[in-house]
Symmetry: C2
Subunit: 299 residues, 2 copies
């Protein structure tokens, strides 16, 4: 069985079609790699690529993309709404099939080292690859953004994991790491009171004492005039969707509010949903890898 690893590199250009085309050209032409999706946002001035590949292919394609970005994106001229610190801003590796988190961490370190040695871009390891607790959090690494990175790297605690305390003059700094797949999961409430969604979000999210691998905020769906608990499930194995869903349901009751629906945004691993079916159907001793037909078809 081939190990499958996903990688979702973010590049700081969403406007220059020649740069985007160049990245796509590379992404489509590395053996053992499939480009599943790419999208560019002009207001963010940022492009996100979704790649999946075997162990060798994914490392090679990421290096080639980062090299191309470092040669074609000039951060000294970059403007856009999304926080950013490098031509390649962030490179997360995600275990998909027959590969452990430990193996993905090892891959992230190998790629980080090669990027630094061959391209002289300083690297912070983040998420599960992080070398200090504060570096798990991308927002904390990126704080100050490209413009303040030269000073930040001189601060005691911000020695890069690879490279010296000096940004690449045009490509800045890149964060590389391994993380679990993320599921964007929103739960809709039959209330127009955003405060209720805010309170419930605070209850379910890990940062304020709730489920450890859930991030959440309350938002208003203006077109439907309903409040929503909008979440990122950052480890659906350790904090399953159904557990958060049922928590929202029983917390909403306190306000006489019901759950009227939910949304999964974008892609989800099949297992995040099948784990929920297992719970609700009370399936005993289900073996996901062996019993799901499609798992026998993946390479």
């Amino acid at each position: 069985m081939t190990k499958l690893i996903e990688c979702i590199p973010n590049f700081s250009d969403g406007r220059n079609q020649k740069v985007i085309d160049g990245l796509v050209e590379i992404a489509k032409n590395v053996k053992g790699v499939t480009l599943l999706d790419h999208s560019s946002d002009t207001s963010h001035n940022r492009s996100v690529f979704t790649l999946v590949g075997d162990e060798e292919g994914i490392q090679e394609v990421v290096f080639q993309l980062v090299k191309f970005a470092s040669e074609n994106i000039d951060m000294t001229k970059h403007q856009g709404e999304h926080p950013r610190m490098g031509a390649t801003d962030v490179v997360p590796f995600v275990p998909i099939k027959d590969v452990t988190m430990e193996e993905c961490i090892a891959i992230s370190k190998k790629v980080a080292q090669r990027i630094n040695e061959e391209l002289q871009i300083p690297i912070f390891l983040y998420e599960d690859s992080a070398t200090t607790p504060v570096r798990k959090n991308l927002a904390k690494i990126r704080k100050g953004q490209f413009e303040k990175m030269p000073e930040k790297l001189l601060e005691e605690e911000w020695q890069p994991d690879y490279g010296e305390r000096k940004i690449h003059p045009t490509a800045g700094v890149t964060a590389v790491g391994a993380r679990m797949p993320l599921v964007a999961f929103n739960v809709n409430l039959d209330t127009d009171n955003i405060e209720i969604a805010n309170k419930i979000a605070k209850i379910v999210r890990g940062s304020s004492g709730g489920w450890k691998y859930c991030k959440g905020i309350g938002v208003m769906l203006e077109d439907r005039n309903i409040a929503q608990v909008s979440m990122n499930m950052v480890n659906f194995e350790k904090t399953p969707l159904y557990r958060v869903f049922e928590t929202i349901r029983f917390e909403a009751k306190r306000y006489g509010v019901s759950v009227i629906g939910s949304e999964v945004i974008g892609l989800t691993p099949a297992k995040a949903l099948i784990d929920c079916a297992e719970y609700y159907l009370q399936i005993e001793e289900f073996n996901y890898n062996k019993q799901v037909f499609e798992n026998h078809l993946l390479n």
Copy 2:
């Protein structure tokens, strides 16, 4: 995207290792086909192969297997507990990916015709490929088994769909057809009263007025001393698992009985379970093909 078709041919030999090895050898060596599983049962004296392949490959491998079986299995000498009528007893084609039921029916007919023309085995089309309502049901086609087939084929209503009213002297008769994937789904009750399981099975199964694509009986799990509703879900898209599960739950309540668990036996398509997650999590507008990550990895 490659069309993927599953085929689960059943051969009437589960004892002669040379025959089994010969079938495996063929199954592993046709381009575009993967042998997912095969199992042989000596008391049934029968072997079941699970293959998946593209449109061309699946047709070729099935023909080669049927040819080998017709040359190496002699039904005049066959004994075994399982009902059977041919060296290759039954050949179901199942749509898996990017292929419609109509296309699978067309494939089943092409293979049936080739088997008859080149091997002189008479064929009944069954399940979704059937040409008369009674032929949808394999048990009705097979009734009388190999030994009574010569007379049966002479009966008015049993003219084979391909071939003459005469069995192949050693290979008998084969049923070929297309059907939906089948999910074996059992629901456990906290009662030792099999009558309750029987009554509920009668309520949920299509044949006695319940959910059309559910077959079910009550069985006793002797080792746990509990009764079970044991089911085959023969079209999980039209009769989803959760609908039958919830029916069993509310019908059991009448007897003060609870559902204490369920089992999925063997393989299930991911969608059969993800459809249930969608229901219980109340997911709005989920696009299975696009939003499930793994669907982008299958060829």
